[in-house]
């Protein structure tokens, strides 16, 4: 094999050794990174939505507390005009109040006497309700008595949210929080938040109210506690009791207006219009503030009203422009379901450090493999150089041997000729014959070695291949005879072909030499030749021990010798078949091992032209 292709091959292999694992590593790394990213971003998303839910819960709890507070207070209210006006004047949460009697007539603001300017605008604002007060209650299929607990309510509510005029009945959350408030501790706390002027004596009073209220209200929630409460407190006048209540929301101007309404047992509906900016201010007071430099709040949460205007925002993340797209947005739960919460933050990314680490690992690995490959390459080329030097040395030596040998052979042949003519004695002739044969053998060996180390020059000319075969057999016949090998010839190629006789002879010599060396025990040698399909085919078959299947693929490799008893004690270079095949290939043909029952068979094919 030529050195340069060998070298190229080596380089390609080394490059592959370096590149393939790196590609694999890069791909794996990328995939893991991608998976991680996905996992982390999913985790991040759920964290964000948990945070938004938490905020929503805070806001909801505000309305729940308001429900409890108003639900209880309204039941105690004296509904005289002056008293109502005083309530409006004294309570910062109330913008206006209306009272509608069982006949759907408006009692407050009064219809038959003078009203204040604020009351007049209120009357104008709520035109729709005066027209059909029962719309607060009856246009809902899910009207429920207080204290019943139900799940379908919420589903029904979300359906309604799309309407311009939203009506929210929140008896479900009411009943749940109401049962909580029977615990004495939680009630005063919520009262204080919503109405901080509440004095201690007032709180006590309300607390008492709660326990008295719990009797009629929380039928399902805590039956036992209501029984206790009942036994302790005197029942209130039944007409003032709340039958049902809920939130009603609509949009007027830029504000989201909320009404908390309560229908009493006697059919009277009392509605409290919340002061819109106060609702906003109260929500703000419940939401967290922003401490500059606080790293735990590297986000920006925004509360948006129906019009999409920011009501409040907190968190240290700086928004770059007004168009900043939120990472998550969710609507609030009712009653403010047309409001929304937005989460802004650094878009989720694998942290810079991990990408850095990844790259570092990759390049580190690449460097290591490359270094290893470089080391291997250097070792390999050194080996190759050494081998080359050895081959060159051998070939040099062989070359040097060739010249004297040729002379020896020539003079031995001359001597043989002379002896043939002049001396009749057999003994000297035999000696000379041996010398000649051995020198021929030696010259074959040398040319083999020389051919192995360098490609031979091919000189094609017209030849009769069978003549070459016969000539070659003639050289071997003495030794074949000596080993009692019977020769069977079937030479049927009596045609001229264009080829190199020297090379052809060398191939044959190698094959025959093998038979002589390793298959002598077969005692038979078949040589057949023919010309078929523009090919000269020559097969050499012995009847020796043959070659085991596992060895067959190795026999054409240089320096390979079958290790068994066949080769024991027989000297050989291990390059015979290699050279034979190379030579066949130089002639444009092939040399193959043919599977036979007994012994070994080699077939040489060379083109006729």
């Amino acid at each position: 094999m030529p050195q340069s292709t060998k070298h190229k091959k080596l380089i390609i292999i080394l490059i592959l050794i370096v590149v393939l694992p790196l590609l694999l590593l890069a791909w794996q790394g990328w995939k893991i990174n991608q998976d991680n990213k996905q996992l982390n971003s999913a985790r991040f998303d759920s964290l964000v939505s948990a945070r938004l839910n938490q905020v929503d819960t805070v806001i909801q709890s505000y309305f729940e507390e308001m429900q409890i507070q108003w639900g209880l207070q309204i039941q105690q209210w004296n509904l005289g005009n002056d008293q109502i006006r005083k309530r409006i004047d004294d309570n910062g949460n109330i913008r206006q109040i209306f009272v509608i009697d069982a006949q759907n007539k408006r009692q407050f603001p009064p219809t038959n006497e003078a009203v204040t300017q604020a009351e007049q605008t209120f009357v104008d604002r709520l035109e729709l309700i005066w027209r059909d007060p029962q719309m607060l209650i009856t246009n809902q299929s899910n009207q429920l008595e207080l204290g019943e607990s139900k799940g379908q309510q919420i589903a029904a509510n979300t359906k309604k949210n799309s309407r311009a005029l939203i009506k929210i009945d929140s008896a479900s959350s009411f009943s749940s929080t109401f049962s909580n408030s029977t615990k004495p501790s939680s009630a005063p706390q919520s009262m204080q938040n919503a109405d901080a002027i509440a004095q201690l004596d007032k709180q006590e009073k309300i607390q008492a109210e709660i326990s008295s209220m719990s009797a009629p209200v929380t039928k399902s929630a805590s039956y036992e506690s209501s029984k206790i409460a009942k036994s302790k407190t005197t029942p209130r006048s039944s007409t003032n009791k709340a039958k049902r209540q809920g939130w009603y929301m609509w949009h007027w101007g830029s504000d989201s207006n909320l009404i908390f309404w309560q229908q009493k047992d006697n059919g009277i509906i009392v509605g409290v219009e919340m002061e819109p900016v106060r609702v906003k201010a109260d929500l703000i007071s419940r939401l967290p503030d922003t401490v500059p430099g606080d790293e735990s709040s590297d986000f920006r949460l925004r509360l948006l009203d129906t019009a999409g205007q920011v009501v409040y925002q907190w968190g240290n993340y700086q928004l770059t422009s007004a168009k900043d797209v939120p990472q998550q947005k969710r609507p609030l739960s009712y009653p403010l379901s047309s409001w929304a919460l937005e989460y802004h933050g650094e878009p989720f990314n694998q942290s810079a450090l991990s990408r850095y680490t990844l790259l570092l690992t990759f390049f580190g690995f690449a460097f290591l493999i490359s270094a290893l490959a470089w080391f291997l390459y250097r070792e390999q080329t050194r080996e190759m150089r050494l081998a080359e030097q050895r081959v060159q040395f051998v070939s040099q030596v062989s070359h040097e041997l060739k010249t004297p040998l040729t002379n020896i052979r020539m003079y031995a042949e001359l001597l043989e000729d002379q002896l043939e003519q002049q001396i009749s004695e057999e003994q000297p002739k035999r000696y000379v014959q041996v010398i000649t044969d051995e020198s021929k053998r030696l010259s074959r060996l040398i040319s083999n070695v020389l051919n192995f180390s360098r490609a031979p020059r091919v000189h094609k000319r017209e030849i009769y291949p069978d003549d070459i075969v016969k000539q070659s057999i003639e050289h071997f016949s003495p030794s074949l005879e000596a080993k009692q090998i019977a020769l069977e010839l079937a030479l049927n190629a009596d045609e001229e072909i264009i080829s190199d006789p020297d090379i052809l002879e060398q191939v044959l010599n190698n094959l025959l030499s093998n038979v002589e060396k390793y298959a002598a025990n077969g005692k038979r040698l078949d040589i057949k030749s023919e010309i078929k399909d523009d090919e000269y085919r020559l097969s050499v078959r012995d009847y020796g021990d043959g070659i085991s299947k596992s060895e067959r693929k190795h026999i054409f490799k240089p320096f390979y010798r079958i290790h068994d008893k066949l080769t024991e004690g027989v000297s050989g270079t291990g390059i015979g078949l290699t050279i034979a095949r190379q030579q066949a290939q130089h002639l444009g043909g092939s040399l193959e091992y043919i599977d036979v029952d007994q012994g070994a068979c080699f077939e040489l094919r060379i083109p006729t032209k």
Partner: protein
Amino acid sequence: MTGKNMQPFWKKLLGAVGIASFSLLGSTLAMTSAQAKQVELRAELGSPVIEAGKKQTTFLKIALTGFKLDDESDRTPANIAIVLDKSGSMGGDKLQSAKQAARMAVNLLNDNDIISIISYDSTVNVLVPATKVSDKKAIHRAIDRMRSNGKTALFAGVSKGAAEIRKFLDKDRVNRVILLSDGQANVGPSSPSQLGDLGASLSKDGITVTTIGLGTGYNEDLMANLAGYSDGNHAFVKDAEDLAKIFKYEFGDVLSVVAQDVEIKIQCKNGIKPIRILGRDGTILGQTVKTNMSQLYSEQEKFVLIEVEVPAGRAKQQVSLADVSVAYQNMQSNQQDKLADNMTIAYSASQADVRRALNRSVEVTATKQVANEASKEALRLRDQGQLKEAQEVLKGSARVIKRKAEQLGGSEAGLLNSFSSSISEDANTIMEEKDWNQNRKSLKARQYKLDKQQSY
């Protein structure tokens, strides 16, 4: 809410006993009650005697003057939230002055007072949550930490301030949010009407808001509304160096509160019809007028001026005009006190009698308040681009004052003449584009001061 009239029974009893002072036990208890000082109520008419035979209008002045605080230890404990703008525009000297003013203000307070400090830009930071003023150094440090940055979330700042106040909300304290801003509110609700609503809502809970506008970048309508509907103070500070002075005035007011939560009810009688309340916010319902004042300061007079229509009467007829009742929280005794007065009006055929009877000081007040209404109207016109009309209104107003000065004569004439010339000056400045931004703020602040009888 029923809180304000839900006095414990024994207190009511004590009040009743104090007045009656019948029983022996009662008289000893009454001693303490009687010693508590009272706010002075004066209900006066501009023209106690009017011309007979024709329907006409007159002015009713209900003035309340806080009693004198004898010494420093008597003063009402305060519950104050200082809300400071630290938006980008506050950078540099402005923020430094604000910090200095806030530090100075903290030094005016003592252990009994509660303070919270809130700063806002795009977001809100509660620098000092509501706390007793015992560790002033720590509060100063918190103030010094402020750095200017971002936009102006004014609404959220006030909301958080109010939330801090609510932690210790108490009718025996002066509950006040002091807001400093130099810019347009641009995060959260930011219209003057919304901020006005917020002021009104806080006022119902007993929280007043004082607004201090710094420089020429803020929205004076918004700031005046917020202060006005909660009956707090409003000031325009052109230069940041004056901040400390304004804070001093403001705290002077806060620390001299003697009465709070003042409810004034005027019940007109005998066909007398209330037409309008000048300057203050209130409700007129038929013959009843109701209005509130958040606080009364020591030795300062605050009043309500009401224009009423009096039906025609016969000469020498004397008619009961209105009953005035006032209820307020006395900060020294921590009780609710009630005051009452009534007014009568007489008809006369003689012009001279009418002139003689004129209450000169009420007339001066009424003239000023009416002129102030005209000044507001002029501002409205100016805002609509009707510069000429605006000027005409002011010029007309100046003429009216001048005539009144001539009519009244005496020392009042000089007072009114100088007022008239200041209105004439306004008539000139209102035409100028140059410095209008600043002039408008100054005019707005002056109008506010007259409306609310602000001390500074």
